[in-house]
Amino acid sequence: MSELLQFLFSGVTVGAVYALVALGFTIIYNASDVVNFAQGEFVMLGGMLTFAGSAAGLPLLLAAVIAILATAAMGVLMNKFAIEPARGAPVVSLIIITIGASIFIRGGTQLIFGKQIHTYPSISGDTPIRIMGATILPQSLWVILGAVLVFIGLWLFFTRTLLGRAVLATSNNRLAAQLVGINTNFVMTLSFALSAGIGALAGVLISPITMTSYDVGLALALKGFAAAMLGGMGNPKGALVGGLLLGLMEALTAGYLSSQYKDAAAFIIILAVLFFMPQGLFGRKSTERV
């Protein structure tokens, strides 16, 4: 019993990390149909900048806020200098541009902050919480809380606010959105800022657990992307559920089967889901109206 509970805790911890990364994917995807592969780099920047700030003597909270704002600014710059000039290019080209941007950010971070692995103290200490013989770290709860709050925020944003609907409208048909008076340029800038900010928040919350270095972004982006695909790309609910499911599948496979098959099992299940439900678990049905 305590064994199962421990596997579940492990899965939820990892799953919440994936979910937070996956949530970052949704906004840019919703605004432009582009999967932003630099999302992992935003997560990395959140952790690295927080570390750099606190190493420079700032209080951790202030360092975290600065890291999130700086990463959001980075997102805006990326939109301005990499995505906007390629306006009108096919989505695949834009995705390749985001991969290029991610390599650029990774290289820059390596040059400025070096190759060392860093970490900083957890928000509420490292004393594990014991529940029925199993343990979970307080920081995991913070990550879960962060994922849930971001999920609720995004969900309200996309369904309840005019601006959120404007983002969806821009994704659906940029020209039509412009015709009804939506400033699509602003929408794009905003979605990059938000997406980068959420990524950075993820980085701030997970770094005490996963540690951070200039090259952690790629692996996080891949797992976050898999989680988003599983749940349904562009849907905050899908990102949250997909992330948690992916984490749980990994932990349960590692616990009951063998850790050798951990990643394979997770990806086989994702492939199976996508085979029968190409939109993912919560994806919207896409019907092209001509």
Binding site: E3, Q6, F7, F9, S10, G11, T13, V14, V17, K115, Q116, I117, H118, T119, D126, P128, T135, L137, I206, I209, T210, M211, S213, V216, A219, L220, E250, A251, L252, A254, G255, S258, S259, Q260, K262, D263
Partner: protein
Amino acid sequence: MKTTLTTTALSTLLALGLATAASAEIRIGATLSATGPAAFLGDPEAKTLEMLVEEANAAGGLNGEEIALVLYDDGGDPNKARTFATRLVEDDEVVAIIGGSTTGTTMSIASVAEDAEIPFISLAGAIEIIDPVRPFTFKTPHTDRMACEKIFEDMQKREITTIGMISGTDGFGASMQAQCKDVVGNYGITIAADETYNPTDADMTAQLTKIKNTAGVQAVLNPGFGQGPSIVTRNYKQLAIELPLYQSHGVASDGFIELAGADAANGVRLPGTALLVPGLLAADDAQKSVVDAYKAAFEGKYSTPVSTFGGYANDAWLILSNAITTAGEADPAAIRDAIEATTGLAGTTGIYNMSAENHLGLDLSAFRMLEIKDGGWTLVE
């Protein structure tokens, strides 16, 4: 007309000058992974070689001849390493090659060096480099098999007979996992649980719970590199596992204690080199002076802490310069024979005793069994 003449005269002079310089210098080649994914290995190695050659030249060179270091950066790419090795042999006409930060690049360079019959000292870990012995290929770092043996020796002393293993799936972890499984039988130890994790995983409590619940496990061994082992150590503490935890030499640095946290790392044992614990070496330790000298020189010049990897380059240079001095001439075949005859040479990694059958020359005493106590290192022996 006058200008042409002057130019011709100048170039003739220049050519003459170069020619004289070339005949009075020892050309040594190196190809290292100073950038790329293995930069954490190659970067301190390149810095070390540059520093040592500079030092040697300032002290009058070897056998009274200036040393010219031809250093290439292969970025960890075996194909590039092969190209650079060929260039070193054919164009740069070096008398010896140091390099191969990774096992992959080493194997590329070794085949070129063997064909050209140029002595080659590798800085990579795999046992395949020197087993079976190739006539011209040597290496300075101890192998992961030796790390396993050192750890199992210590387990044997503590009367541990059943262990669990949790290994990283990266090259380092996978290779050491295989070597450990290969030699574990010699120590009467059985592996009851054998788990793995990805180097980028965020949580290993599932694997550790499985090991913890395996009947009879008395200790846990974690071959791994990077952040994985620190997370394993933290999760170990989180699950309150009371068994001894062994880490590999892959995390033998102060950074590991910092990342895992002094509290979680308390009691962790791992094999490390003398370079890691200069303060703990006895005054009469054969390696003490070498370690102190290298550490002081490197940290003085580059203001970054020394690493084990830079130490490998330091040892390769010691072996090579020692061989050139004993051979008395910079002829590749003579240098090779002199390297093979190296005995009792103290380096930062250990004391080298080469022979025709042993092109590594280190024994288990090259590793010191260390235990982390109160955020610092202590010697177990």
